[in-house]
């Protein structure tokens, strides 16, 4: 699992690459929270386009980060056009509360 984070304006952009499961999600969670809590940004944009696998641990990770953005009066949005990842996002009901855009630049323009 590779994680790349970047701060742009009021947004923390998180790019995930590889497999997001119970084993990898714990470390990802710690790194994102450290960066998010240690900076003044209020929004998180998660780019899932380079994920090759995600199970319900990923849903838990996204739900937790979403709650953190609500606490900071920010927003969390997702960039993803991978069909298999989108299926599990859709199934979880997360997309009723979180906006999804196919590509990162579209997500960044719409936050």
């Amino acid at each position: 699992m590779y994680l790349n984070m970047e701060i742009l304006d009021n947004n923390l952009i998180v790019k995930l690459k590889g497999e997001l499961d119970h084993h990898t999600s714990e470390e990802v969670r710690k790194k994102i929270d450290k960066q998010y809590n240690g900076s003044s940004v209020s929004n998180i944009i998660m780019d899932l386009n380079e994920l090759t696998f995600m199970d319900s641990s990923g849903i838990g990770l996204i739900m937790g980060r979403y709650r953190n953005t609500v606490d900071k009066r920010g927003k969390l949005i997702i960039a993803c056009e991978n069909m298999t990842i989108k299926r599990i996002l859709d199934m979880s009901g997360l997309l009723k509360i979180i906006e999804l855009y196919p590509k990162l630049d579209e997500a960044t323009n719409n936050i």
Binding site: E19, D21, H22, H23, S25, R29, F53, M54, D55, S56, S57, I59, G60, L61, M63, G64, M83, T84, I88, M91, S92
Partner: protein, 146 residues
């Protein structure tokens, strides 16, 4: 497809989650599944194995056994642990129910297995362990648009 069978045993370490789902997917690939069917199987196995690690063996490492049988175009997968078992199975299988909200578990594990597979049976005995049995029918190549 000729019938086939395999058995895999491994320790309940989280870095075996990836290993175990890839092994089952490789076994399933002899049915020539689509990428979507393969991804469904991998995800369902990952959920069952994660449950065994986090819940079944919450109080210490143990052995997880996966057995898989191919009969015709159907793959049956059982994931068993000899861990602590599930007290209230009905409650555990409800969407979003989690006994571990502090670990940010979504409570979606069984729902994912039910959605991505064709059948799901869970048997659990308090203090003895849990067995998850799932099946999935893989469509014939001729039925698929490729």
């Amino acid at each position: 497809m000729e019938n086939n069978h395999m058995k895999l045993e491994f320790l309940s370490k989280s870095n075996n989650e990836s290993f175990s789902r890839v092994v089952v997917a490789a076994f399933a690939s002899q049915l020539d599944p689509t990428l979507e069917e393969l991804s469904d199987i991998k995800t369902a196995v990952s959920e069952a194995v994660t449950n065994a690690i986090i819940h079944g063996y919450e109080y210490g490492e143990g052995v997880i056994v996966i057995e898989s049988t191919i009969s015709g175009n159907t793959i049956e997968i059982t994931v068993s642990d000899s861990g602590k078992g599930i007290d209230n199975l009905e409650e555990a299988m409800e969407p979003f129910f989690t006994s571990k909200p502090n670990l940010e578990r979504s409570g979606m594990g069984f729902t994912v297995m039910e959605t991505f597979m064709d059948s799901l049976v869970v048997e659990s005995l308090d203090g003895k362990g849990t067995m998850v049995k799932m099946t999935k029918h893989i469509k014939n190549i001729s039925d698929k648009e490729r």
